[in-house]
């Protein structure tokens, strides 16, 4: 059922932490789970699918060898960039709202941190922005 090139790749990738599965099998299954739940989390703008996507990547990483881990992580980052870019193109207002909400969540903690670190007002505004761009 599976193509020959994949069977050869799978055999060459070596055995994973699960003896019955090769590294390539685990990496493909993990990446598929990540892709599905990451897209669902973007569409629904919900946290729980993102949690599942992230934890599946962690679980897959534990089970595979380090080259497979790196390949899987790079593929996931590339997918996240593509999905994020498409989301920004298809629904720019929704994307901006989510970004502003994230900024609002993080800004007080960063402000407090900058103050505790002894960073002056001018430098703090330069590093963190004064929030005007979000308010506009």
């Amino acid at each position: 059922m599976l193509p020959d090139w994949y069977l050869r790749l799978s055999a060459a990738s070596g055995s994973s932490f699960i003896p019955a599965w090769n590294n390539a099998d685990v990496a493909v299954a993990t990446f598929a789970a990540f892709a599905v739940f990451f897209v669902v989390s973007t569409v629904l703008a919900a946290d729980w699918p993102f949690d599942i996507a992230f934890l599946s990547l962690v679980a897959g990483g534990i089970l595979v060898s380090w080259p497979a881990m790196i390949a899987m992580t790079m593929a996931s980052v590339a997918l996240a960039i593509v999905v994020g870019g498409m989301h920004a193109l298809i629904a720019p207002q929704r994307n901006a709202r989510i970004a502003a909400e994230a900024q609002r969540k993080v800004a007080p903690a960063l402000e407090q941190f900058a103050r505790d670190a002894g960073i002056g007002d001018a430098e703090r505004r330069r590093l963190l922005g004064d929030g005007d761009s979000e308010r506009r």
């Binding site: 962690v58 990483g61 534990i62 060898s65 380090w66 881990m69 960063l110 670190a117």
Partner: protein, 106 residues
């Protein structure tokens, strides 16, 4: 129950021992631990869940390094568990502040 807990702790201890042997550099172990704590602290700016995720990312980096240095799957898993837990515990804002002040003093 206590026996099982002790067994688990012994397994983690043996794994950590093997992981430090695989990394074979105390400096690199400390650097990885600090990186895990910093990632946890940065995640902590958002919320507690992101702090855990930051620590997990650091733990997975340790996992990759241990595997790349010749450690087995179980060894890498034990190192991930320990580094993630320690990074999450220490990964708080005061640590980042201390590191920044140390850097400024230099």
């Amino acid at each position: 129950m206590i026996d099982q807990l002790l067994d688990a702790l012994e397994w983690v201890g043996r794994g950590l021992n093997a992981a430090t042997a695989a990394i074979d550099s105390i400096g690199m172990s400390i650097a990885l631990f600090l990186l895990t704590a910093i990632l946890a602290a940065v995640g902590g700016f958002v919320n507690g869940r992101m702090r855990l995720y930051g620590a997990l990312v650091g733990g997975m980096l340790v996992n990759a390094v241990v595997k790349a240095m010749g450690g087995g799957f179980a060894t890498a898993l034990a190192a991930t568990v320990v580094f993630t837990a320690a990074g999450f515990a220490l990964g708080c804002t005061p640590l980042l502040l201390k590191l920044m002040r140390m850097q400024q003093r230099r």
